[in-house]
């Protein structure tokens, strides 16, 4: 029993955090809102140079061959800076799906993903729309009971604007040639595991987003003075923040457990992921609610950076399965006769 990350995993997290915090500043995110695509190919190249686009790509395809467990801490850091680029989507969803599909498609695309030359996105029906379809070179799309692969020139896109200006969402229809890569049960199983990995990525990012909102709020309430003192010294303000801290603290281990579950193909993976997603998104939603409150009117403005993270947190809550979807999966687990519950069942 060892529920800790390795020194290497923690060191890599630290170095990625340093890079992201320095590079993905709120100013840079605001600048991306002004650009047409909202995406920055120079930044993507930097992420590739750091090995991040190839982290989960098998070594045979030029990647680092790391697992979901290796990536989960990095996904938290991507959340912390509200990274607009589809790195979590690529590394946690698209790459493992391509690996599972295998064959020519994997041979053709995985090396390019590893080097950062190509981007691949996944569109599932559970998500109304497809994130970052406009910058994708290859799209893996659920179509009913099938999974199809279509290149960028074979799809037409209708942009749907999100409350979060960083999110780029598209209705995708296949206009040209698409290849069916899986059908029936095989497709269902691939869709299911993609959804689990997407939910894990959203959960991990929600943890980072919650932490960022806490940090911004601690800073703001330490600086802002009213009634002759920092407002953060008032208990009413402290308790708002303490409640977020408690909620976030108890959401972390479930997310790490979910990452382990997926990486080790544990049979509990699906409901472990659902619990992780519910816990993490609840923490991020509570962070959003309490952090805007302690910012006062400033929190309601476009100018203060809080909304960059708050809006992404709201979006995470309903991406890759909304709360209703994930609660249903947890309920199906615990209310099934003979379910292993209670003391000693967690790691059995």
């Amino acid at each position: 029993m060892d529920f800790t990350f390795t020194e290497d995993q923690l060191l890599f997290q630290d170095s990625v955090r340093d890079f992201l915090v320095n590079e993905i500043t709120p100013e840079r995110i605001r600048a991306s809102w002004e650009s047409e695509s909202g995406r920055d190919s120079a930044l993507w190249s930097q992420l590739a140079e750091l090995g991040l686009t190839g982290m989960t790509v098998p070594e045979a395809y030029g990647g680092l061959g790391m697992s979901e467990l290796d990536f989960v801490l990095l996904a938290q850091e991507c959340g912390y800076v509200a990274l607009p680029e589809p790195l979590v989507h690529s590394a946690l969803v698209a790459v493992p799906l391509l690996v599972d599909i295998g064959g020519e498609l994997a041979d053709q695309w995985l090396p390019k993903v590893a080097t950062g030359e190509a981007k691949v996105v996944v569109g599932l029906e559970q998500n109304l729309l497809v994130e970052d379809a406009h910058v994708a070179d290859l799209l893996l799309l659920q179509q009913g009971d099938s999974l199809v692969a279509a290149t960028a020139d074979a799809v037409s896109l209708i942009h749907n604007e999100s409350v979060d200006p960083s999110r780029k969402l598209f209705a995708v229809s296949v206009a040209g040639e698409a290849v069916v890569v899986a059908n029936g049960d095989q497709a269902q199983s691939l869709i299911q595991s993609s959804l689990d990995r997407g939910a894990l990525g959203a959960a991990a990012q929600a943890l980072g987003l919650a932490q960022r909102m806490i940090d911004l709020s601690v800073q703001y309430t330490s600086d802002r003075k009213q009634f002759g003192q920092a407002i953060g010294a008032f208990q009413a303000v402290k308790h708002h923040m303490a409640n977020v801290a408690v909620c976030l603290e108890y959401a972390k281990a479930p997310v790490h457990r979910a990452a382990y579950s997926i990486a080790c193909k544990e049979s509990v993976a699906s409901h472990a992921v659902s619990q992780a997603k519910l816990n993490a998104c609840e923490a991020a939603n509570l962070a959003a609610k309490n952090c805007i409150q302690v910012h006062g009117a400033m929190g309601y403005t476009w100018e203060v950076d809080l909304h960059i993270y708050m809006k992404k947190a709201w979006a995470m809550a309903n991406s890759w399965g909304d709360a209703g979807f994930h609660k249903t999966r947890v309920a199906n687990h615990i209310f099934t006769d003979g379910a292993a519950l209670g003391a000693g069942a967690t790691f059995a």
Binding site: F3, T4, V218, H256, C264, A331, G344
Partner: protein, 388 residues
């Protein structure tokens, strides 16, 4: 990361399980807040100690097994699964014991720990006073050193288990001119000393689970001082640290309550489903107990590898105490009109012991430092928010 138990851990679990199967009382004991129940629980402590299962985390030389935190978690899981009795000497074993091992003299350890271990001496705590509750530094009870004795005067209150306990531990002001955290000394007091009056206080269930203790020129040998004179605050903080930390409430307790709650829901599904909020509350109970377990294992593994417990541990008490309240509230909702009935009432079929749990859960956010105090600690020490 490897979330599977080692063969040794599995074997340890089997050993705990089979010992409990053979030795745990078949019939539930009376409440330890009754005279009979107290003695039954004292006997159970002796039985546990005979099997060396009383204090698994204590060193082997002191009758324990030197278990690490993972083994402790496994022990607790089997203990709660077996429905074994609550620990009447919890104040001693989990709070004072570890503090004694850290601050006590060899003579004190040899004299006190074995009798604590076998239940011969049950301990009560003496922290709070009428004007020193959340504000513990406001303690006014005094201990004056005269020769080789302290003369103690004053009053303690909310002393858990004090009605039938043999000893109490607490803080007393040894420097009459001191204020706040300074000038306090940690002293162990035999409750049969002349000059002591114990006045039981009935709790919400009507039973005297705690008491007031009055000290009228009570003489206590200086041998019963724990740590240096005037160092009481830091000794007490170590005790409160253990109390607030991992070991006060193991996840197993809440996971078993959550499991029983799921069963209760299924047994009463028809009536339970009339209120959609109940299903949500049951799911939430399961998930929160699970989060508490996962988080505790993660912390325990980190500590096992030499990590230090940080300010984030102050989130623990808020989490489990609110979880306990929420779980029992859900049970009350499921039981509906039967919820208010005492278990022996003629029409109380199927109410189990949920009402007792519900009453006790009301105390969780209050004892061991109110949750409001905990929130201040979290905001200031964990998040770094300004004190003033």
């Amino acid at each position: 990361m490897d979330l599977s138990y080692t063969d040794e851990q599995q074997a340890f679990r089997e050993e705990v399980r089979s010992w409990l199967e053979a030795n745990a009382p078949a019939q539930a004991l009376q409440s330890f807040d009754t005279e009979l129940g107290f003695e039954q629980h004292r006997e159970w402590e002796a039985t546990l100690n005979k099997g060396r299962w009383g204090m698994v985390t204590w060193p082997e030389a002191l009758g324990g097994r030197g278990c690490d935190l993972i083994e402790w978690l496994i022990f607790e899981e089997e203990y709660y699964k077996a429905g074994a009795p609550l620990r009447v000497n919890q104040n001693g074993i989990f709070l004072l014991g570890p503090t004694l091992m850290e601050y006590g003299t060899e003579e004190q350890k040899a004299r006190i720990l074995p009798k604590m271990a076998n239940g011969e001496e049950v301990w009560a705590q003496g922290w709070s006073e009428p004007n020193a509750g959340s504000d513990m530094a406001a303690i006014r009870s005094t201990a004056k050193l005269e020769g080789d004795k302290y003369i103690i005067n004053g009053q303690k209150t909310w002393s858990t288990r004090a009605v039938w306990a043999d000893w109490c531990f607490g803080m007393f002001r040894t420097d009459p001119d001191s204020e706040r955290h300074r000038g306090l000394t940690f002293i162990l007091v035999p409750l049969d000393s002349p000059g002591i009056t114990v006045r039981p206080i009935p709790q919400l269930d009507g039973l005297p689970g705690f008491a007031e203790i009055f000290f009228d020129n009570v003489e206590v040998s200086v041998d019963n001082r724990l740590g240096d004179e005037g160092a009481g605050w830091s000794v007490a903080m170590a005790t409160a640290g253990f109390e607030r930390g991992l070991m006060l409430r193991s996840p197993a307790r809440f996971q078993e309550t959550a499991r029983r709650l799921v069963e209760l829901y299924k047994e009463n599904r028809e009536s339970a489903e009339t209120d959609p909020a109940v299903k949500e509350a049951v799911m939430r109970a399961y998930m929160d107990a699970e989060s508490y377990c996962l988080t505790t294992y993660q912390t325990a593994c980190r500590l096992n590898k030499g990590g230090k417990i940080g300010a984030e541990s102050s989130t623990n008490k808020i989490f489990w105490s609110e979880l306990d309240q929420n779980m029992h509230a859900a049970a009350m909702s499921i039981l509906g009109a039967r919820a208010e009935l005492l278990p022996h009432a003629p029409n109380a079929k199927g109410v189990g012991n949920w009402l007792d749990g519900w009453l006790f859960s009301q105390s969780g956010p209050i004892y061991a430092g109110t949750n409001e105090v905990q929130r201040n600690i979290i905001a200031e020490r964990m998040l770094g928010m300004p004190r003033k």
